[in-house]
Symmetry: C2
Subunit: 386 residues, 2 copies
């Protein structure tokens, strides 16, 4: 039976891996709609390869270009946020939510409200709107399938388990490029050093998040909302080889772990085929060749972002939105060499302690808190580094 899927963010890294798997399994999937932020050329190419019937570019100024590129296809062009939502709640049963950033929030929420199965690769959905998303999923009967390798690992380990049988989740973290660096060396870190991630090839922003370990802090928040466990039952464990993608400890003392090579097609395939599995061309794990796996407790002194994220999670309400927005602005400033590496956490900390927002009751509230926090964080940085 063919499964109809929508790919939101089809031209990005997750989108490309999804298309790779879909093209290897043409009998199993039919792509109904695809979206991109701005890259209409790549989007039109995807339309030709998949036969999608709706293609949406978020940037409305690219609408005419997209429409022209789609002449001669059976695919309708559309643009803007409303069209992203339309692509999300169309005929697809499974929505791959891989739009980067807060631009993904409304389309994801629309798919959740419509009761779809949503393969979540948009981190902001759970970090900034975790309670809204999971409440909406409960109300509509939507299923959230995490695509992030850590949360996908936990989802796999939980398969068929009762929540009451789970005692603890363990998110593994590579520790990033500064895992064994001294506090002084971390203080002097340059953007070039920070973006050199040891195990995964990633964009600059997420590489810096890996260097500060804020990525793991954000994942902690996501894990809380996805799996419903409180902060004190979600641990972070540094594991430099990134072979164990995360773990679940049960009440009997058993620990289940998911392992694999660093290939996002594995968790994406799990989401595509769930509750079954499908073959992927991902390299098989060869533990005898890897030979050794290391584990260590994270150092909250050298990596204060972890502590900030946990505090934001425990504060709840708008705090995770503030954490995420201030971090994004601070990382951009660091990459532009406007602030030092250690100031990233300082900006986030100041944003958190100076914030005083009610808990968001809608995606509009989330977007507004996000917008105001970014503005305030920018102002803060200007004030301290004139």
């Amino acid at each position: 039976m063919t499964r109809k899927i929508a790919i939101l963010g089809a031209t990005g890294s997750i989108g490309k891996s999804t298309l790779d798997l879909v093209e290897r399994n043409r009998d199993r999937f039919a792509v109904t709609s695809v979206t991109a932020a701005t890259n209409v050329e790549a989007l039109a190419d995807i339309v030709r390869r998949t036969g999608a019937r709706l293609a949406v570019v978020a940037d409305e100024s690219r609408y005419t270009d997209l429409a022209e590129l789609l002449v001669g296809t059976n695919c309708r062009a559309a643009a803007g946020e409303g069209a992203l939502v339309e692509a999300s709640v169309g005929e697809a049963e499974l929505v791959i939510a891989a739009i980067v950033g807060c631009a993904g929030l409304r389309p994801v929420m629309a798919a959740v409200d419509a009761g779809r199965t949503v393969a979540l690769a948009n981190k902001e959905a759970l970090v900034t709107a975790g309670a809204l998303m999971t409440d909406a999923a409960r109300a509509s009967g939507a299923t959230l399938l995490p695509v992030d390798s850590e949360h996908n690992a936990i989802f796999q380990c939980l398969a068929g388990s009762r929540v009451k049988d789970v005692s603890r989740l363990v998110l593994t973290a590579s520790g990033g490029p500064f895992r064994s660096a001294s506090a002084d060396a971390i203080g002097a870190a340059t953007p070039a050093q920070a973006v050199a991630h040891p195990n995964w090839s990633m964009g600059a922003k997420i590489s810096v998040d890996s260097a500060t370990m804020m990525n793991k802090g954000l994942e902690l928040i996501e894990a809380h909302y996805l799996f419903g466990l409180p902060s004190d039952r979600i641990d972070i464990l540094v594991h430099p080889q990134s072979v164990v993608h995360s773990m679940v400890e049960f009440v009997d003392g058993s620990v289940l772990a998911q392992l694999g090579s660093a290939d996002m097609r594995i968790p994406i395939a799990y989401a595509l085929a769930w509750p079954e599995r499908m073959a992927t061309p991902a390299r098989r794990l060869d533990l005898a060749a890897i030979a050794r796996l290391d584990f260590e407790a994270p150092d909250l002194d050298r990596f204060p972002a972890l502590r900030l994220a946990r505090e934001a999670l425990e504060a709840g309400g708008a705090a995770p939105i503030v954490l995420n927005a201030a971090n994004e602005v601070a990382v951009a400033s660091f990459l532009a060499a406007r602030i030092s590496f250690l100031e990233i956490a300082r900006v986030v900390h100041e944003a958190l302690i100076s914030a005083d927002y009610d808990a968001p009751r809608s995606i509009s509230d989330v977007l507004e808190i996000d917008r105001v926090t970014r503005k305030r964080a920018e102002a803060m940085m200007k004030a301290s580094c004139p």
Copy 2:
């Protein structure tokens, strides 16, 4: 709801751990029958603690002693193989099959034929009668729950999966005390060196099996019958810390692993509570404290028992019975300092190539092949070491 359980082999190590868990969860379990090989004093004590209504000693010469010890209780005493079968197919829904050796075969088969849920801690059941047991379970609807830590790990990793989604099972092996010993050192190994197992405290026979790695060969055979995968899709991986108890690789490249501290109460609790889980006092796994896990391919030259076991599995029919029986006799001779360490594998090899039995069609056939093989292996050793 109280679950009625029978404990076959109540006075041994698995029996004791089971009783520990049952006594911590008196509201969940009622022990209906208990058995022991010879130790009537310990058995009578267990009757007093559990309120079991039937106690069976395998050794018929101990019947009178048992009956006297049970005066004043509500428990009936019985003895011999027929009574073991009676204890197995009584009112218990769950049978803990922890009788050591071929003495366990008839009682286990009786429970399987009766469609019970059988927690299998008797290795011989699957090694020597794997096809008979699993065919019988299919016919009667019995469920086999493996208690052995490796197979229990695989069972946990498979939870809810379809067989067609599994690509490979990976049995982990500590590698035993001679993992990094030279071939010469292994050749000169004494019984004292062979029984010094690095991770688990075990009896002498099974410790020698760990030193030759025959234990892993036997587990390979068990895994084949339990999980239905052919020999070439069951790998053995040396992992000296014994923290990862075994793994399953799926078609998408995902690997699920079960980890835990070296405490048999974890897999026993899994079998007792299945398909749910129950709390145990087992020490929680602390990977940050363990710090490091190592993996390496097994060396079939230094550990020929692994190769012999795989050959016996692939030959099928009576070969695994011959492997097991010849190994037991050879290990006993080694422990009695009658043959050298390397001769254990040589005896097994000779027994395998000289054996010519039809595949067993009943437990009686299994027991007969076992008996004849032991006799022949003894004769072989006498002939070569007069």
